[in-house]
């Protein structure tokens, strides 16, 4: 009886699991199939390409400067990530392992900043960057990372508090200064946390639409792939096969990165969930 119940439960769980997996993957699969269709076929209700046209991908690249958009996006994502790590790791260390006055207040401000909708500060910051002559480029999104990123500091701090103080005390007894302790003890131990924060930052920049939209709308030279795609569809409006091809390509770096660092990534998501 019990075994039979277990078996039925197993079947039921997997039936639901497979059904859900199909639903979750269907949009991506459909995008994939559409990207190989002819223009005419995208206007019909067939799912499966009558003939496969891998040439759509090359055509998408000819129709829009996708390579430049991709290059801009990589520049934004990589610089923002490197700057974030350099500035946010020391800040997270100070917030988790050093004692100083104003530490709690700083932590509250960082949480407020993390929770602040970007639109709240849009106009004053836009004016600031316009005065600096940097609107029309991606620098207003990259340069602030040199001064730390609230979400990354929060995430890294959540990770660093889990490192036992004994390791730090041991390093200090050996006469290591704070910088040495940070670089030789904390950074190696926090590698998974730093990897997670870096990936989040990279994904954030790669996926970012509002930031590039705000600062580079008028200057197509600086567009990122998100911005390019959003207008691609309207410039070539019936060509769903090209839109699908271009759109799918934006997922490739994200998925590649995810499969290489899945463990660090899942740990990172979990850490942001804040255990009570």
């Amino acid at each position: 009886m019990n075994r039979k119940q277990n078996f039925l439960g197993f079947v039921a769980r997997h039936a639901i699991g497979i059904a859900l997996a199909v639903m979750f993957l269907a949009p991506i699969v459909f995008l994939f199939l559409t990207s190989f269709m002819t223009s005419n076929q995208t206007l019909t209700s067939n799912f499966w390409p009558q003939t496969w046209h891998p040439g759509n991908y090359a055509e998408a690249f000819q129709k829009a400067p996708l390579l430049r958009y991709i290059g801009n996006t990589f520049l934004y994502a990589i610089l923002a990530t490197v700057f974030m790590v350099v500035s946010s790791v020391p800040a997270a260390y100070a917030l988790s392992k050093l004692k100083w006055r104003g530490r709690n207040l700083t932590m509250i401000l960082i949480i407020c900043m993390m929770m602040l909708p970007p639109q709240v500060t849009t106009v004053p910051l836009y004016m600031m960057w316009a005065n600096a002559g940097l609107t029309g480029s991606l620098w207003p999104l990259i340069l602030p990372m040199l001064l730390g990123d609230a979400f990354s500091i929060f995430l890294l701090r959540q990770f660093l508090v889990t490192i036992p103080d004994e390791y730090l005390d041991a390093a200090r007894v050996d006469g290591a200064g704070e910088w040495r302790t940070l670089l030789r003890v904390i950074v190696p131990m926090a590698r998974p946390g730093i990897a997670a924060a870096a990936m989040f930052q990279f994904f954030y920049a790669w996926n970012d639409y509002y930031g590039p939209f705000l600062y580079t709308s008028e200057n197509q030279e600086s567009w990122t792939i998100s911005l390019g795609l959003a207008s691609f569809r309207s410039l070539h409006h019936v060509e769903w096969h090209l839109v699908s091809a271009a759109t799918l390509l934006t997922m490739v770096p994200v998925i590649v990165l995810f499969f290489f660092a899945q463990k660090a990534f899942v740990e990172g998501v979990t850490l942001t969930g804040v255990k009570g």
Binding site: L43, S45, M113, V123, L229, A230, K275
Partner: protein
């Protein structure tokens, strides 16, 4: 504990300086990107200005305008509230149910987790374009399937009555990030509590209601509040869906011309904030909207901060 090694005045000053080099850039960042723009937004909300000339004090004019005179602001605020009411609960329930399903799996858990999580990785613009294509009225695969079942599919992103529901489906599709948090929270529920409940004769629902829910409630609260704030700044998907579904030729900032398509049904508060400032050149009004948005989001954040220990206490 940690300060046992270095004591005395010189050491203390040196340590403060070192601490400052660690945290200094972040403090400067908070001053430039949080404190300054907040104060500036409040000041600008009482002024008329463009990007080039010095602001002129106009008192409460723009406050009156935003609160009473611009019907589009009201539509946008209402839409955003509807999105909060639709998307936050939908995502919470969706994430919790999939997480519970995953936790009932054993060996196959990580495969399913990856499959359910993949959509959450898709860039929002990509996901939105995929959904507009998927839900194309007439020839889209969803309506084609519905037609085979004898159901006439709705106009989805092209019907003002369905556009919000379509965006909610899109939000539900990317529920994987929340699901991963819930999977971890559920794994942390002590097994002996379930055993004790079983001994007391609790059924499945009672175990869920009296053991699972109370244990994971801090995570649920966190997810609810971050979800509300995330929805208050809902912009990208609504903007892209409107532009792509409308089929009009727009590029760059011209996309503001399709904001809210169809019939303002997807116009969100942040979208109106952007267009009132950058398309209508009423930057004072945009700052009024920003200050209001700030007050609402910080209200939600304060509720979270009351659980401040969860953030700063070190967790374990």
């Amino acid at each position: 504990m940690a300060s046992a090694v270095l004591k005395g005045g010189a050491g203390r000053i040196r340590r403060s300086l070192v601490t400052l080099t660690f945290i200094g850039p972040a403090l400067l960042g908070l001053a430039i990107f949080l404190i300054y723009p907040l104060i500036a937004a409040i000041y600008f909300s009482f002024t008329r200005f463009d990007m080039f000339n010095p602001p002129v004090w106009v008192g409460l004019d723009f406050w009156k305008y935003v609160l009473f005179d611009d019907p589009t602001v009201r539509i946008a605020a209402k839409n955003t509230l509807v999105f909060v009411v639709l998307m936050v609960p939908a995502r919470m329930v969706g994430a919790l149910l999939t997480a519970m399903l995953l936790n009932a799996m054993k060996r196959s858990r990580s495969i399913y987790r990856t499959l359910f999580y993949l959509p959450a990785l898709a860039p929002p613009v990509t996901a939105t374009i995929a959904f507009v294509l998927l839900l194309k009225p007439g020839t889209g695969p969803v309506n084609t399937l519905l037609a085979k079942l004898g159901i006439e599919g709705p106009g989805w992103f092209n019907d003002p009555n369905w556009a919000k529901a379509s965006l909610t489906l899109l939000a539900l599709w990317g529920v994987g990030d929340l699901m991963i948090i819930f999977v971890a929270a559920l794994l942390d529920v002590p097994q002996d509590l379930y055993e004790a409940a079983s001994l007391d004769g609790a059924n499945r629902w009672q175990k869920f209601r009296f053991v699972t829910l109370p244990t994971i409630s801090p995570v649920l609260l966190f997810a609810t509040i971050t979800g509300v704030i995330g929805t208050l700044n809902y912009f990208t998907q609504a903007a892209v869906a409107g532009s792509v579904a409308s089929g009009q030729v727009t590029s760059g900032s011209g996309i503001a011309g399709t904001f809210g398509y169809p019939e303002n049904s997807t116009l969100t508060y942040p979208m109106r904030l952007y267009s009132i400032g950058f398309s209508n050149n009423l930057f004072g009004a945009a700052n009024v909207m920003a200050v209001i948005l700030f007050v609402v989001s910080m209200g939600a954040t304060l509720i979270l901060l009351r659980r401040f220990k969860a953030f700063t206490g070190g967790g374990r």
